[in-house]
Amino acid sequence: MRAREWAFPIAPVRREVRRATPEVDEGRPPVLFVPGFGHGAWVFAEHWLEHTADRGFPAYAVSLRGHGDSAKAPKATLRAYAHDVAQVAASLPRRAVIVGHGAGALVTAHALARYPARAAVLLSPVFGGTGTALRNPMLSLPALFGGGLRLPAGQLFSRELPSNAARGYAARLGRASTRAQWQLLRGRTPQPPVGDPPVLVVGSPDDRIVSDTALRRVARGYGGAPLLFPGMGHDLMLDTRWREPIDAILDWLEKSA
């Protein structure tokens, strides 16, 4: 029963969707990238979008409402973010693979209960809850009082990334709505995915935001073990060695989706 969703449907908004499509359509499933809180579609447009298209997969990245060039949404909820993902996924020509990063992985997990993805990848997933907050008190403290999650460059990238590039990326970050941040702290478990898609969890043991245990817990929840890239930061897609995880993900997709 979805009486709440029927009674209060999510208000439509303008959404930014960036895309890179392969020159020849080889019939591969489209890949939809979902950035985390504070991040916009641009974080994937930087390297991964083109690379994914070069490997023959039509690639798309959405900015959740209130992020990137999507319309402002100061009162957005996690449900609204999941709605944005399901909307874009359903608009693609074929059944999509969804790749969610950070808190975007939690949004993806909620969207998977509303859209039968072909497969899903959860990158450095932040599934919220007090555990995540306690691990990063300096990041989450302002959020407790209605401020934005603090996402300094040092927490997001490895030392290999030149510091001016890292600072440049960090300066472009925005913030999620206060309500969504609260809901992240509450850490409601998503409903099981529909259509039983294969789910891969990818992360780094050196991620300063998501602990190794949290990574393994999420992966276990989906019946697997995480694929790890040591030495990389939380934002795998912007780090110096960005090519390794995306290649591994696309290899996995070729085999399982």
């Binding site: 979805r2 909307q87 059944r95 509303r114 995915p193």
Partner: protein, 470 residues
């Protein structure tokens, strides 16, 4: 692609493993047959595929969409058809309609949605277009022999054996024509709503629309704008709800009350108050007083009828008594002279390809099915979308088909459990899925309340061990 080369063609290697009446039967092993590629057929295919079944779908037309494809012979859709349930109730629960669409999409958008659904889930390669099902007969091991032939009539008939069959041939295409004294001698034009396609058919004519259903009201509204005169004949009084109340789509307001878990009486009280203050008392226009409370039958959703009644462009009249050569006599004695009579009197369910007893069809033509979907003692047969809900149909068919696919899987994995579930379903064969106190007319055969029905499907899915139907 799940089917092997050589569809029913002995020369290209299709293995005939049995014979029926002198015809070869080609075994499709665990594949499920879906009859019809309308919304119900498409969601049946998608959910069966998702549960790992091979699917063959036979569609008599050359494209998907069924009733919503107005190019199809049997489509009841007319140029101005719009949905009467708002988007959240009209879309498949796992495939949202685009945000950019209006609250109540037009029929062309619904067709676009269904075509996109078919492409998105790669369903078209499983559909045999231009092929109609002639016969569905039980075979050994609770399997089914399905005889098909091309709609054009060329080529022979072919028989395939399937593990299960989903009948999704729609129930809004076989017109129900009431019998009136003198109708044959009437010189004016008489059409069924099924033949109504465009408002131009009404232009400058004196039109009598018979029937108070949503279609009848829609056509009366069209006639109000196009025809020289419009009479609208209704037998009973119904509740007319506007498409918007309190600034929102009316069905969303209703579900807001359901979400608040207000009891039926409280909802009825609030709805009566709201209608009284917005629509007012419709008997002042000459409409009959409803003989039931609101929500006891699904309401007529039409904002414009009241508007045109108030402008005198639609004249409400009682039921027809008899037809004369050039006029129509109404109960009450009034005589009117329409040029065109539109019978918006509904449709009969029709399953001409299967022995009615398999669907428990009684003398009146009504199939007796558990949850209006599952026939008695036929665990591998289902009828999809045979419902008259107080909301949109697509979400309900979606869950019906998830349940059916799950039941088929449970039959393989845990046969004893499947039998127990089937028994329980059969025990509820005559259960009603609505609180409506309605006359036993064909119009209300499949009347359901979407919340009562979905709760029942949820229970069924829980019994089958499936989560995620919340």
């Amino acid at each position: 692609m799940t089917y092997s080369a050589g569809y029913g063609d002995p020369e290209s290697g299709g293995p005939a493993t049995a014979w029926r009446d002198g015809w070869p039967v080609y075994d499709r092993s665990g594949t499920v047959c879906v009859i019809g590629a309308g919304p119900s057929g498409l969601t049946a295919m998608k959910n069966l595929k998702e549960h790992g079944f091979g699917v063959d779908c036979y569609e008599r037309d050359t494209s998907v969409g069924g009733a919503w494809n107005w190019r199809h012979d049997r489509s009841p859709v007319y140029a101005s058809t719009h949905l009467i349930s708002s988007k959240p109730f009209s879309q498949f629960p796992d495939f949202p309609m685009p945000d950019s669409w209006p609250d109540y999409p037009k029929h062309t958008q619904v067709l676009e949605y269904l075509e996109h659904y078919a492409d998105h889930f790669d369903l078209k390669p499983h559909i045999w277009f231009g092929t109609e099902v002639v016969k569905v007969e039980p075979a050994e091991g609770e399997r089914w022999d399905v005889t098909t032939r091309s709609t054009g009539g060329y080529g022979g008939e072919r028989i395939h054996r399937y593990a299960a069959v989903v009948i999704a041939n729609g129930h809004n295409w076989s017109p129900k024509r009431p019998e009136y004294e003198g109708l044959e001698d009437f010189k004016g034009e008489v059409i069924h709503a099924a033949q109504f396609k465009d408002a131009a058919q009404l232009r400058n004519k004196k039109v009598l629309v018979i029937g108070a259903g949503n279609t009848g009201c829609d056509i009366a509204v069209e006639a109000a704008q196009q025809a020289a005169r419009c009479w609208h004949s209704t037998r009973r009084g119904y509740w007319y709800t506007p498409k918007y109340t309190l600034g929102r789509p009316a069905d969303q307001v209703n579900d807001l009350m359901l979400w608040l878990k207000l009891p039926l009486r409280a909802r009825q009280f609030l709805a009566h108050r709201t209608l009284k203050s917005t629509v007012g008392d419709l008997t002042r226009f000459g409409l009959p007083q409803p003989d039931h409370k609101i929500y006891e039958t699904h309401t007529i959703v039409n904002s414009q009828l009241v508007y045109y009644l108030g402008h005198g462009a639609v004249s409400p009249v009682p039921d027809v008594a008899r037809f004369h050569r050039n006029s129509v006599e109404l109960k009450g004695g009034e005589v009117i002279e329409p040029d065109l009579v539109v019978l918006a009197t509904g449709y009969h369910p029709s399953f001409e390809f299967i022995d009615g007893s398999l669907l428990g069809v009684d003398a009146s033509g009504r199939p007796r099915l558990a949850m209006h979907a599952f026939p008695k003692r036929q665990p591998t047969l289902a009828v999809a979308g045979l419902l008259q809900p107080d909301s949109g149909l697509f979400p309900l068919v979606h869950w019906q088909m998830v349940a059916f696919a799950r039941m088929l899987r449970v039959r393989e994995a845990a046969p004893a459990k499947a039998v127990a579930v089937q028994r329980k379903l059969e025990a509820e064969l005559d259960r009603r899925w609505t609180t409506a106190k309605v006359k036993d007319s064909t119009r209300h055969w499949f009347e359901i309340s979407h919340t009562t029905y979905l709760k029942a499907i949820q229970r069924l899915l829980d019994e089958l061990g499936l989560e995620g139907a919340k």
